[in-house]
Symmetry: C2
DNA sequence: AAAAAAATTTAGGGCTGTCTAAAAATGTAT
DNA sequence: ATACATTTTTAGACAGCCCTAAATTTTTTT
């Protein structure tokens, strides 16, 4: 009674959409995220409920059960560990690894995951700054701020991103914004919230609000 | 028009069964290797023929087309590279890696394969001594002998195995028979072809014909 | 060259995961 | 409260890959 590739994807997506507060996830939201139609989602929800992986009442949205949560966190753990491997060991850019990890996350061996984790020195975060659940399914929930919420004149460390598209990540690369860099807000334009920032007390840079809302930081 | 997981497995198995001489492979042999029934094999053969990956005439057995050969060798390349990774980098035993590689071989990224190959320093052989095709699909066909064909008193280097089951590989481990070891035939019992051999000019060992027929060697 | 045996294909279905179209339930607005 | 809009579920179907049972073709034996 193994979970299929597709079932794992649904569970992972339900986890991501329900957020830290474990909100109900709607059929339409799942249809959007899985790139399928609402009718297909309903079929799958029935099956996942049957297997005890989600709480599902018709027309009421879904939440993961304890068991479903465990499966989702295992998939997320594998995804993020493989991303670390691809970047740290194989030299991929952080903009290239998501789609490959999307496949690798479904390779089933527990022994493989644990050895990979050890080989990578038990990393806490993936290349995008997302936390990696441990083998027991514990995942820290760091409370980062959006760069757009840092007040003028203050400094912060870049810790992650909200947007994971290659286009956005490549844009950050070209701007010199990488995980761990120190950012100081030098100027904010009121009418469009674009900003001038200084990176590592050196180069200064103009960024749009679109960028500053998708960069996660920790105040200094 | 990507090939499915299942299609790739059929192509790889057809390649392995047709051997160096590219012999025709029978429906029953495929049913056996894929652990399915002959009727299911026929369905798949029709589809693979449709896609131009095999030559198939009803009741005549199958052979790979040029295109099918290319796909099969890519899958074999990935399988064997992942096996090297699992043994060399993650510390798995050669008896543990086959099933995991059976999954990893279907991960599709070409860039991933080439980077993995480079990371492993372009290995020529997998942990079982099987040759790894290069990126263009060229695979050397080493002409090893079975240990059972080495005459009394002669020496040989262990280069590979014919049998890949965990049970057999673990038996070799317990016997101290590893790739690269030097073997001298000290004595052969006529009635059951069991033999006494000496490993690396040190320890001597009794082995059954079952073992000596499944160990590949190169004469010294 | 039949007849018998073995191998292979065809017929008819099942299960998974998807779809479109239609029906039902829920939410919103007057 | 009723009508309209939106969301969700049901109905019916299809492609991929598998199955058993029956028919057909090839191979082997007599
Ligand atoms: Mn990712
Ligand atoms: Mn990530
Ligand atoms: Mn193998
Ligand atoms: Mn191997």
């Amino acid at each position: 009674m193994q979970n299929s590739f597709t079932e794992e994807n649904y569970l992972k997506i339900i986890h991501n959409l329900s957020g830290r507060d474990d909100l109900e996830v709607s059929t339409n939201a799942l249809a959007e995220s899985t790139a399928t139609r609402a009718a297909s989602v309903t079929d799958m929800l029935r099956k996942l409920a049957e297997k005890g992986l989600i709480h599902y009442k018709k027309y009421q949205g879904v939440r993961l059960t304890e068991e479903g949560q465990k499966v989702a966190l295992k998939v997320i753990r594998k995804h993020r560990l493989w991303e670390v491997f691809l970047v740290e060991k194989l030299g991929f850019g952080w903009d290239e690894v998501h789609d490959i990890a999307e496949e690798l996350e479904h390779i089933p061996s527990d022994r493989l995951v644990e050895r990979l984790d050890a080989y990578l020195d038990h990393p806490q975060f993936d290349p995008h700054g997302d936390p990696i659940p441990d083998a027991k399914g514990n995942m820290p929930a760091p409370d980062y701020l959006k760069l757009s919420d840092i007040p003028l004149g203050h400094r912060a460390l870049m810790m992650g991103v909200l947007e994971h598209t290659p286009a956005f990540l490549q844009h950050l690369d070209r701007s010199g914004l990488t995980l761990g860099c120190e950012i100081e807000i030098k100027e904010v334009n009121e009418f469009d919230k674009s900003a001038q920032i200084q990176i590592n007390s050196q180069r200064t840079l103009f960024i749009s609000q679109e960028v500053s809302r998708n960069v996660l930081v920790q105040r200094l």
